[in-house]
Amino acid sequence: MTTLPTTTQKKLGLVIDLDTCVGCHACVISCKGWNTENYGAPLSDLDAYGGEPEGTFLNRVHTFEVTRDTAPPMVVHFPKSCLHCDNAPCVTVCPTGASYKRQEDGIVLVNESACIGCGLCAWACPYGAREMDGAEKVMKKCTLCVDRIYNENLPEIDREPACVRTCPAGARHFGDFADPDSNVSKLTRERGGFDLMPEQGTAPVNKYLPPRGRDTLDMPDLASMCDPAPENAKGFLGWLDRALERL
């Protein structure tokens, strides 16, 4: 049923640290790798060796520049995947019941065998978190690696989403937001985690941590030290200066 649960027992999700992310795209690749080989239809590539290659991805890293009035510009790498919203507009628009939000852990999933590929859920998502697979014609989205996090065949250290497991910078954190003492709840509290596009009313579960303030050096104005050549140069250089002036 595509009505949303009023509450979920757990609120599993990610914290993404925009301060730490180095924009290496490792999360993009590990996500594609895991989700191509496991749950659901593989994430296809189209025209992979041709002139206009494209593919289905569940996670993508954008890079933004923030221009500031009193400080140098800041480059912010910005990974974006499904935010597993509490008020997920993608779920309620689904005509077949293929899209659903799980009551037990709040993960938003697609039952691919019930998906008619109408694309309305992708339209309803303000974040562009859903992509229709070009080959399978069913809607693909982040599953929060539902086939890893509960998978007892994996070593315990690997029971977290592939993107989190692979991140070399430690910029991605996985946990339960319903638990105020979880790592993600603490991080969100301490670092001022925020929602993307709160005005859209989606109540995202995933939170983003802002870039920390950059260090500022207390140093003199370098430009003022770069005086132009002295007016009355002497010796050879002075002669050269005067000779060139006369030309």
């Binding site: 049923m1 923030v66 800041m74 912010v76 309620t92 005509p95 992509e131």
Partner: protein, 290 residues
Amino acid sequence: MHPAPSLILFTVLSGIGFGLLVWLGLGLSAPVGLAAFILFGLGYGLAGAGLIAAAFHLGHPERALKAFTQWRSSWLSREAVLATATMAVMAPHAASSAFAATPLPLFGWLGAALALVTIFATAMIYTQIKAVPRWHHWSTPPVFVLAALAGGAMLAAQTTLAHFLMLALAAAMVAHWIAGDKRFAQSGSTTGTATGLASLGRVRLLEPPHSGRNYLLREMVHVVGRKHAHKLRLIALGFGAIFPALLLMLPASYGTIALALIVHLTGMTAQRWLFFAEAEHVVGLYYGKR
């Protein structure tokens, strides 16, 4: 948004088809015999053709029956249920009018009400989407409903009614454009809110996440063709509503109604094309495009 031909055909054809069924069901024009066969056939044919066109938009049309299950939450599902219900409920009225020369008003009225709600449900599929601010506004459903009722009244040869409905449609289109042009700014979504970095400074995209195209850009960031928006608005307004309204003031004949119909359908196709092409999805903010 990408103006898919299947969706333009679906909304225009099934709209006018259900609009015709509204008037036939209400008994404003109560044809019997061959005339009823042709008119009800036209209503059912147009509505059905539109729904079939919509099925071409699906990735897996073989699973389309599942779309009847989620009417509690989904306007698309409601639309499917209502469209089918309209056709089923109207059928005794249609068959009895055509083959027994006895209209069955009870089925007709109920069918007309269902047809009207079906048109509204079609509009709500788009109106409900908050991520497309231009659509998410009260001015969207009147365009769909009035277009269907005006076109349907024209097909039912209710020329006076159709004339006034065409004028109302013209007003609804203009209202939708005027309101729509302000909607994106009113939604409050900017690159700053999309990234949450607005408090730090001015935010712009430095590098996109991929150099090629993808589903999101193809489907939701349709920027080509908007440069002719102004001309297309004039075509939509003139051909879709004003010229048909003027033609309907002439003495009614098959010729004028056929001409008005062709002009109206041309204009409505332009209107629907613009409805999709002009609509900007907030996801474009993540790509530095709208």
